[in-house]
Amino acid sequence: MLAAVAGLGDEAARVALDLPLRANLTARDNIALIPLYQRHFDAAEAARQAQAVLDALGHGDIAPLRDPDMTPAQRFVTQLARALMLRRPRLVIDRPGAMLYDVPYPAFIQQLAARSDMSGTWEIYDFDWNQALYPQ
């Protein structure tokens, strides 16, 4: 499973423990890097887009926090917002239990997915023994 997820390449945006945030940037700046460098928006517009994604997920207040000051759930939301900003057709969440150990995570992810306007697919890769956590 691990190799399969890691080898997904560029068609999927991944949220994973091994793809951390840039530690010395705020949540907003981490997300804003994508419009800034990929779509060549100016800094103000990139920051506005990043804030909009966080607001849409219901966590606009975490925008000024840096990685070490975030709770695991806030860190996950920022990584998820960054993945959504990539606008790839697939979004893969790799072993969420490793990142979301402070909230009941299937419900938390479901709430976030309901708020997101992403048109592609969301996939969660988790260990077999966590299957009972997900509604069948």
């Binding site: 991944r14 091994d18 793809l19 530690a23 060549h40 800094a43």
Partner: protein
Amino acid sequence: MNFLAASIESLGARFVGWFAVGYGLFAFAGRAALLMLDRSTWNRATYDVVIKQVYFTAVQILPVFLGYALVISWLLITIILSTAREFGLTEFATEMTIRVLVLELLPFLTALFIALRSGSAINTEVALMRVNNELDALAHCKVPPMQFEFLPRLIGGVVSVVLLALLAGLLALLLAYLSIYGLSMAGFDAFTRTVAKIFDLRIMAGLAVKCALFGLAVTLIPVVSGLETPKKLFMVPVSVLRGMMRVFFAIVAIEVLSLALKYI
């Protein structure tokens, strides 16, 4: 016989290691130079990061640096002047002060200052970025680390060392004048004539190239050393230690080469 073979083997391994380090440095510098020549690199985002780097490396430390340059310059000028007076060589004091302080010592100390303050921080940060997979995360997001993280640091280092050495040099010239002639304008002609005689085009170009090489050494070596760090947290201090040793040797090598080219 075994001892001899082991010694040759160890020497060979060391030589290959040095070659690999040198190759890595030049290859990285080449990639950075190519990226710098690419028009698409120079977007608003890159300019912003470069300006931030110059601010962190040069502007933020300005009061401390100028204080340090002032004390060192004043001490050395006083020593040179009192020695020159003792031996009846007062007419050479200005030239000696400029040659020792402005051309050699202040650029060297500026490079050391930036290496200790920013070079070590850059080495640690890049090593931690590598160990924590932050570079992989940037690559996954298609944010080019060379453009976002490394190139601005190299440019910031070069610009900072050149500007700080220039400022320290100007401060030393002012101090030298005040120490020799006091507040009187009587010596202005003689002083400016000596300055003009020393600072011909060749010397100025050499000084600029030396400062730029110092700036490159104190940023390029820490970046490359950080990138070489194995993905183990306990290797970060080792990486910084190696990087800073290389920076020290590079600074000394640049200074020795510049002295040799000038005086031999």
